[in-house]
């Protein structure tokens, strides 16, 4: 890792391409944190994992199709619609299984994830055996490689993240209401089914945007970790969303600089470990829910109780 380059990347002085990548990752992190806070409150953390993994077969199929048609197969304009289609199929399959069978949601989501991602790996192993350099670069979509993003891809990523963030801001109040009280949301005329579908679509958008930069495998952490960290700092849903958004943005910016300085490492694991540090730190010291203050409060309460009991 090159510390000087890292510092220059932090100051956006590491080439014009890096500025775009940093902006893209920053907004991606912000959108992921924002949407993630709604997903966490609505208990959809595992669905994000399924959506992230389930983009792979669609992406691989779109790649093969473009190759067969003689087009440029690595363009996101091809890969994203493919990924969106297979993620939508996975959501549909999970819904169908949940409605039709007595299996627990955990088991259904895990099984759907494994089968879709397995299909993706099957297609990917076929792509890797193809002759020539045609297949190079597709396995970056597994763990992400932000430093290798083209400027056009970075701009597309930025646009998708902005779209997800704008939609989430527009519907934020309704999504929060739905998470806390679906019954009241229905009475207030919000149509819970439609809002749920919107939330799933937003999660899908974030997973797609995360694909080239963070990878299919770890997209879930980008969504869940900032929101879980923010939950430790605040008991107000609004403030939780704000904290998660800011945290995601900061992690994205830092992750882009790290990825620029250490291009041999995949961006996904780097970014997730950064967010993990924030989560672990918050778990230790956050004011109300952190372990340190909890322990101190508990000890003080015990002392008080002992003192009171000692009185006649």
């Amino acid at each position: 890792m090159d510390f000087e380059l890292f510092w220059r990347a932090l100051c956006l002085d590491a080439g014009p391409n890096h500025a775009w990548v940093a902006a893209a990752l920053c907004f991606l992190g912000a959108a992921a944190g924002q949407v993630g806070s709604f997903a966490l409150l609505r208990r959809r953390a595992l669905l994000v994992d399924v959506l992230g993994h389930a983009t792979l077969p669609g992406v691989a199929a779109a790649f093969l199709l473009a190759l067969a048609l003689g087009l440029e197969p690595r363009s996101l304009a091809w890969l994203w619609p493919g990924g969106a289609l297979s993620a939508a199929l996975a959501t549909y399959a999970a819904d169908w299984l949940l409605a039709r069978t007595r299996l627990e949601p955990d088991a259904v989501l895990g099984a759907v994830l494994a089968s879709f991602f397995g299909l993706g790996l099957l297609l990917l192993s076929h792509i890797q055996t193809l002759p020539g350099a045609a297949s190079a670069g597709l396995d970056r979509l597994l763990f992400g490689q932000a430093a290798a993003l083209q400027r056009s891809d970075a701009v597309a990523l930025l646009a998708l993240a902005l779209l997800a963030g704008a939609l989430a801001s527009l519907y934020g109040r309704r999504l929060r209401t739905l998470a806390f009280d679906p019954g009241f949301a229905r009475l207030a005329g919000f149509r819970p089914e439609r809002l749920d579908r919107l939330l799933h679509a937003l999660l899908g958008l974030v997973a797609l945007a995360a694909l080239p930069a963070v990878g299919a495998v770890l997209a879930v952490a980008l969504v869940v970790l900032p929101a879980a960290t923010a939950r430790l700092w605040s008991d107000s849903a609004r403030r939780m969303t704000h904290i998660a958004t800011g945290l995601g943005a900061a992690a994205g910016y830092l992750g882009a600089a790290l990825s620029r300085a250490a291009p041999e490492l995949s961006t996904g694991p780097l970014l997730v470990c950064l967010l993990g540090l924030a989560f672990a730190g918050s778990l230790a010291v956050a004011p109300r829910h952190g372990l340190l203050w909890r322990g101190l409060r508990r000890r003080a309460a015990l002392e008080r109780w002992r003192a009171e009991r000692a009185l006649p």
């Binding site: 595992l46 007595r102 895990g110 099984a111 089968s115 790996l121 939950r231 995949s266 778990l283």
Partner: protein
């Protein structure tokens, strides 16, 4: 492939199928236990979280012996289970959210270790973690009848084959010994406690058993195969029967069936149709698993929620 090549079959496919079948048998019973106890989430968690343990064990000892990696992966799985439990008890987050935050974190940490420490000379590449190495287990198979009768040639079988057979035997023994107690404590913890059993102890032992199987699956087939084999056979069996014992048997049947059919699909059928080299066996098995689950849910009896 145009003609049957028996030496290839014995050298490459026999060890893979042996290893896969033993692991499928072990995984189907572990998955059934997890599903009956509504702990399907742990299949997700365990299959991902063993990675940092496996990598650290390798980096620390420099050995790739299955037993060393098993110890590492097992400890990582247990750390995940304990950390999830402790965090969900204290923080204002439900268990799903905590696990959803922690297991990608474990996985990412493992990947980072792998990429940072390897520099390319480790033959446990990051993509290996996803694809597994089922189709790459090679055995210098004996060429004549005399060799097949000689015990020495079986000693050359890849270590992972013996390791998976051991895991299968171990889990089968545990199930045989503790089956009744597990049954009682799974369905009725209070009643089991009244009978003098200790449900907490059995739960912990079962979790260790499942973690060991997850590590074995992970070493051979990667994350995806581990998840698919833990969840899908058990889920299919759950949809077909209401009987405890039958569920275990059906799950075992489905597991072995998936291994053979998926391996055949990825290594023989698809390459023959497409005219390419063999594809990822873990991918083939997992995709077939999805089809099986859809088929059972569509056509099986007893599928409704009670």
């Amino acid at each position: 492939m145009n003609s049957w090549d028996w030496s290839r079959l014995a050298a490459l496919d026999l060890p893979a199928l042996l290893c896969g079948s033993a692991l499928a048998l072990a995984a189907s019973s572990a998955g059934t236990l997890l599903l009956l106890r509504r702990q399907g989430l742990f299949a997700d968690g365990l299959s991902h979280a063993v990675l940092p343990g496996v990598v650290l064990a390798f980096l620390w000892t420099g050995s790739r012996a299955p037993a060393v990696l098993l110890a590492g992966g097992l400890s990582a799985g247990l750390v995940l289970a304990l950390a999830t439990r402790a965090t969900a008890r204290r923080a204002p987050l439900d268990a799903g959210a905590v696990l959803g935050a922690l297991y990608p974190l474990f996985f990412a940490f493992g990947l980072l270790l792998l990429e940072g420490a390897s520099g390319g000379d480790l033959d446990l590449a990051p993509s290996h973690v996803l694809f597994g190495q089922l189709e790459q287990l090679a055995w210098r198979a004996p060429s004549d009848l005399e060799g097949w009768l000689d015990p020495a040639s079986y000693r050359r079988l890849p270590g992972l084959v013996w390791h998976s057979l051991g895991l299968w035997l171990g889990s089968a023994l545990w199930l045989r010994l503790a089956g009744r107690a597990l049954f009682a404590s799974g369905f009725d913890p209070v009643g089991a406690r009244l009978l003098g059993l200790r449900p907490g102890l059995f739960e912990a032992a079962t979790l260790v058993c499942c973690a060991a199987i997850a590590v074995g699956l992970f070493q051979v087939g990667g994350v995806v195969l581990a998840l698919a084999l833990l969840l899908v056979p058990a889920a299919c069996a759950r949809l077909l029967t209401d009987r405890y014992r039958t569920q275990f048997r059906l799950a075992a049947l489905f597991g072995v069936l998936l291994i053979w059919a998926g391996y055949g699909l990825a290594v023989f059928l698809l390459p023959a149709l497409l005219g390419t080299q063999s594809l990822s066996a873990a991918g083939g098995i997992s995709s077939l698993a999805g089809l099986l689950l859809l088929g059972v849910a569509r056509f099986g009896p007893r599928r409704a929620r009670v």
